[in-house]
Symmetry: C2
Subunit: 233 residues, 2 copies
Amino acid sequence: MLALSETTTSDYIYRAPVSTSSSSTRAVMGLLAKQPVRRLSSDEHLFHEQDHTRQIFRIESGVVALYRILGNGRRQIMSLRFPGDVVGLDIGANRHCSAVAISPVVARSTTRRTVDSLVERQPQAAAEIIDLIGEELASTRQQITLLNRRSALEKLAAFILELDRRQSRQDLVRLQMSRTDIADFLGLTIETVSRNLTKLKLRKFIRLPDIHSIIILDRQGLSDLADGDADCD
Amino acid sequence: MLALSETTTSDYIYRAPVSTSSSSTRAVMGLLAKQPVRRLSSDEHLFHEQDHTRQIFRIESGVVALYRILGNGRRQIMSLRFPGDVVGLDIGANRHCSAVAISPVVARSTTRRTVDSLVERQPQAAAEIIDLIGEELASTRQQITLLNRRSALEKLAAFILELDRRQSRQDLVRLQMSRTDIADFLGLTIETVSRNLTKLKLRKFIRLPDIHSIIILDRQGLSDLADGDADCD
DNA sequence: CGAACCATTGACCATGATCAATGATTGTGG
DNA sequence: CCACAATCATTGATCATGGTCAATGGTTCG
């Protein structure tokens, strides 16, 4: 989905956040930074739900979706992971979710084993892992508040702002994914996504210069919507 | 998890699961087990969203809700924690959610500082913490699949089965919480909860001997509903 | 016994899913 | 390079689920 030649440089490339947060060493991140890059094309899997062994990835560019297939056959995207994010750390017994590139992705990866032995040599690295999983937990909780009891319009407003935040762009948001991906992430249908994007456009909150781009015109308006402080429908 | 043969009195008390899973030492759990018990009554908070310091609890009996207040004033319960579960480990920067007892609760608690110094002395304890947070992550993801794209009836069926699993009862499920709590957990209104409970009753999937108890009559039927394999509406 | 709270039930309505048709964009082979 | 196919996005019409408002019933506590 989505061509995207990274030739034209960073226009389509999310930037890795400077340095996420808090504490600890950067031992695990440092380890990952030394790995060779690996390129995945759209729809290529990082790992599957049922995999026993699981590699650990750090995303350099592109978007990765963590998803699960529900009983009714629907795909629920639990989390979107962007450049700078680590994917696959949530190991242990069975974490049952799959990871797939929903845009061309560049990532560096290592094995669980390597990370484990790193922790053995540098016990403080465990604190970093705890931080990283904690971030994933926070993002998953955020997803719950995004999904629940919010109208389609509110979900989309929040989604656009989140993308913008992650891309550290001022106005131009690159979607880098299909309407289906957005729908599966927000728990909507593609029709509803489409309708509410045009609704945001009609309200002059955004412009849609092309199908994979959004220009934010009224950040405050979007923000009010996303927070549920909306004045009306 | 489970087995539970308790007698008399504790009819309303969940038992802690024997030993959750997998790996590592039980150093943190051991530390918690040595703490004095603390009793909280319904609606008493373990901690608030904005708290800086945060204690770490192990629930002995009762139910704790992790929740957040959304912009529209609604309460979203992100996670229900039962006996044997640890609450408050998801520290780090700001995890922004509050924890409240929604039934009388008995818990043991310690401070973050104590756990940290334990990890300093026994680095392997970090692996246990990673496991515990990983469990919380898994449960939060489970909550997403429960919330999203499921009908009210499906949510309730899944909820009842989950409670049953946690109480290791065969047929009798003690709710130990109000309809409002259930609604805030499932992302529904109390009216919808009520209506769909009676719908399950009419279909002979459950009985409702009293307002805080459910008797499972057709586990397979509930299971089919919860998995979305349902035959019809 | 009455008051307060919680749960149930009903009537109505709005949001979003579904079904269906049309447009737009991309990819492929002649 | 164009034509066709295939995929994806948009828009419309209809309907069902669940939210809201409102009234009633049941339980508990003073």
